[in-house]
């Protein structure tokens, strides 16, 4: 696990609760505990890897009163924006134009950094009359690797609307006819071909004059228009034209009447006997024929310009047209859009987090963090008795968490701090020995205690009563006080710390013989990976009284009086990563 010792993970039981939905009631009745409640959480279980999260990664659903981990939230896209120009793109545009920026944002096809528009005009002298706007041809240039559209022979007339301009220019500067022009040309060719009797000869004619193969989008548009025309041919031959309508069961007039009354049945009949569709048979119809000349050209290119001229795999992958092979075929790739997402509870669809819709803002409108609802457990060795907030890294305090002495009693200080505004009663439970091969003994000296409410910091400071501290009142006597069972160690405004007594188990390093079945779980020094990590599962149960929420208070019910208090309970498993046990010398 990635966090340095000591750490605390919180378990989200979303998988288990989903598996056992009817029994997953809150523990309002502790004595008749079912199997699920009986089972102790095993941090060594491979499945636990997916259930344990640091507190900071967790959200909290106020309706379900449960922790929500990344596995049990639903994400929904709020809006799309370009990370380069920070303009929001409406979702209707996403459907029609795709998920790339349609403004001036482009990424370098060589190194993926975002490109800038530069002018080719030499800089004017400042004394000249400033017209403000830049003049002259423009080009896209990568500020990092210095690739520019001049490398592929593309210049722009204006510095805005690059996408529209780029769509009209092929590599090398030739102008691409617009879609309408292409349609027109296609129709013209179509008519011309209709005049010709033999369509077969047409292919050879067209192939011979096609020196460079058509671009992929041309092929696509040709093919799609061809298929559209085929479909419309098939549709026109349907019920309303009685001559072509030969149905097996009904006369055409009947089918026409049926068609008037119910469109569904007519559709069925349509599917019964589809008109035969032919495949594309010429370049104009979208037929792409592999030619050996293009292969020869590629080989010549390789011979002439060498390996440097080819693209790497990732460069090729970033291209819109992924069939390109050479650097001269590169196109600047429009910037991919990003999304802002909200999170909802998977169970009740309650919104858990929602960022502000404004693109430039990084703040959140709603953010229900688990750290605001769940007590924070933090652990440190008692011998390293320095107040936590002043020293961020506890390793600097002299206690070596990664070399725990086996079979020696170590005291840890478990501090529970309460983020709620009500005092909380906490009950802790842990198995007396940890699971796994290395059996360590764990004793919670004070398993049940209270934690004060998270009141205003000033309340305590201004109140006339002296600081209520249970155990040692000042740090000088802290070391001298005895560790005593059933007593809390120290108490503050909204936190309480207790002592955890741990006797790390002995790692039996060299066994004489390993028995067959056991062998595969052990590596060379006879220890499964991370077996020496001491992790303590702790079951935390919280009880507190809080005001009855407004939406919970049904208007008809008399049992809950308005403004009344309600007893609440929550429970979860957490795992304390205490340290690594040192092997016996």
């Amino acid at each position: 696990m990635a966090l340095p010792f000591p750490y605390t993970y919180y378990s989200c039981d979303c998988f288990d609760s989903a598996a056992a939905v009817p029994t997953a009631k809150r523990a309002s009745h502790p004595p008749p505990a079912d199997d699920e409640d009986e089972r102790t959480f095993d941090p060594r279980n491979p499945r636990s890897n997916y259930a344990l999260y640091p507190l900071e990664h967790l959200l909290y659903c106020e309706d379900c009163r449960q922790i929500r981990c990344p596995r049990c939230v639903l994400e929904e896209t709020l809006n799309w924006f370009c990370p380069s120009c920070l303009f929001e793109v409406p979702s209707s545009m996403i459907k029609s134009e795709g998920n790339r920026c349609t403004r001036n944002c482009y990424n370098c096809p060589v190194c993926t950094s975002s490109m800038t528009v530069s002018s080719l005009e030499p800089p004017k002298h400042p004394s000249n009359d400033d017209t403000g706007g830049l003049a002259g041809p423009f080009f896209l240039c990568c500020p990092y690797c210095h690739w520019s559209t001049l490398d592929i022979g593309i210049e722009f007339e204006k510095h805005t609307g690059i996408t529209q301009q780029l769509a009209r220019i092929k590599n090398g500067g030739q102008v691409v006819p617009s879609l309408k022009e292409r349609e027109k040309a296609r129709e013209k060719r179509h008519e011309a071909r209709d005049g010709l009797a033999a369509a077969r000869e047409d292919i050879s004619v067209e192939l011979s004059d096609a020196a460079d193969p058509p671009a992929q989008e041309d092929v696509f548009s040709n093919l799609s228009s061809f298929y559209k025309s085929q479909l419309s041919l098939g549709a026109s031959s349907h019920p309303f034209s009685p001559h072509h309508d030969i149905n097996f069961s009904s006369p055409s007039s009947f089918s026409r009447i049926m068609n008037l009354y119910s469109s569904a049945s007519s559709k069925k009949q349509k599917r019964d006997k589809p008109p035969p569709m032919r495949e594309a048979s010429s370049v104009a119809e979208g037929l792409a024929i592999h030619t050996s000349s293009s292969d020869h050209a590629a080989i010549q290119d390789l011979k002439l310009r060498g390996w440097d001229h080819t693209l790497t795999y990732s460069q090729k992958n970033n291209q819109l047209d992924q069939s390109v092979r050479f650097a001269s075929e590169l196109r600047p790739s429009p910037t991919l859009l990003c999304t802002k997402r909200g999170k909802r509870c998977r169970a009740c669809r309650h919104i858990l987090s929602k960022p502000e819709p404004k693109i430039t803002s990084t703040r959140y409108k709603i953010k229900l963090l688990a750290s605001n609802h769940i007590p924070r457990l933090s652990i440190r060795a008692l011998s390293a008795s320095l107040p936590l907030p002043t020293v961020p890294s506890s390793a600097a305090q002299g206690f070596d968490y990664s070399h725990l002495q086996p079979s020696a009693t170590i005291h840890f200080l478990l501090t529970v701090s309460n983020p709620l505004f009500e005092p909380v009663r906490i009950t802790l439970a842990t198995p007396s020995t940890t699971m796994g091969k290395v059996k360590s003994k764990v004793t919670i000296l004070c398993p049940q205690f209270d934690v004060g409410a998270n009141t205003d910091v000033w309340d305590e400071a201004l109140s006339s009563t002296p600081a209520r501290r249970g155990g040692p009142s000042d740090s000088s006597s802290a070391n001298s006080t005895q560790v005593e069972a059933g007593k809390i160690w120290e108490r503050g405004r909204n936190w309480t710390s207790i002592i955890l007594e741990v006797v790390p188990g002995i790692i039996e390093q060299h066994r004489g013989l390993t028995f067959g079945g056991d062998q595969k779980y052990r590596d060379d020094d006879g220890l499964v990976e991370d077996e020496d990590v001491l992790e303590i599962p702790i079951f935390v149960r919280i009880e507190y009284e809080s005001d009855v929420a407004v939406e919970d208070r049904a208007p008809g019910t008399e049992s809950t009086r308005p403004g009344g208090k309600e007893k609440r309970e929550e429970a979860f498993w957490s795992v304390l990563g205490v340290g690594k046990i040192k092997p016996l010398q």
């Binding site: 190194c111 080719l120 030499p122 800089p123 240039c141 990092y144 690797c145 210095h146 690739w147 001049l150």
Partner: protein, 216 residues
């Protein structure tokens, strides 16, 4: 304090300030040739026993360091050296290592016209060609030969004795490509030099010149 000092005879202090500066801790180069049109900021330092030539319109930003401890340094016309950048062969174990134990006088560093050396870069190269840009945090090892109009992108490390041909862009993790745009368009090359000259004009307006300290 001042009362106690007044009775003591005033000690002759001909040049009090320069002697205190850290930059003049090393001996002032015996052959320091500085063009009067150069711009040397207050905290820039030029030091070392070997000759240093600073050509016209050179800009040395504050805390730029030109060191000729292990060999001469020639800065061409319009060279810009940014803050904390170091030009000159640095001392180190490799000095003797190259030729068995005997410390040879290195060839020094020759920086071509219009070269820009950005913040924190260390240039020990034998030669840096005209119009090259060495970006921030770059380390160019000794004995390197960098061509004209190259770009060494930020934080790159060029190992010693590397030859980098003209118009090369060193980017990413040691990747290289030829800047074909600049190579084929002489007008862009000229534009780059013109822009650089303008930049120097701006620097001359912004940075207080302390070249007088190093002259004469």
């Amino acid at each position: 304090m001042s009362a106690t000092l007044t009775p003591t005879p005033p000690t002759p202090k001909p040049r009090p300030t320069p002697s205190k500066r850290a930059s003049t801790a090393l001996p002032r180069p015996p052959a320091l040739n500085i063009d009067p049109s150069a711009l040397i900021a207050q905290h820039a330092s030029l030091a070392g026993p070997h000759p240093i030539l600073v050509a016209a319109n050179v800009v040395l930003h504050p805390h730029a360091k030109i060191s000729s401890v292990h060999g001469k340094v020639l800065l061409g016309e319009g060279v810009c050296v940014a803050e904390r950048a170091v030009v000159g062969v640095q001392g180190g174990p490799e000095v003797g290592a190259s030729i068995g134990g005997v410390t040879p006088p290195t060839a020094g560093v020759v920086v071509g016209n219009g070269v820009v050396i950005e913040t924190g870069a260390v240039v020990e190269a034998e030669e840096v060609g005209e119009g090259t840009v060495v970006e921030g945090g770059v380390r160019v090892g000794r004995g390197c030969d960098i061509g004209r109009f190259c770009t060494i992108t930020a934080a790159s490390v060029i190992p010693p004795d590397t030859e980098i041909p003209d118009f090369t862009v060193v980017y990413g993790n040691g990747l290289r490509r030829v800047d074909t745009t600049l190579k084929e368009r002489t007008d862009l090359q000229e534009m780059r030099l013109v822009m650089h000259a303008k930049q120097i004009e701006v620097y001359k307006k912004l940075i207080p010149n302390n070249v007088g300290k190093w002259m004469g």
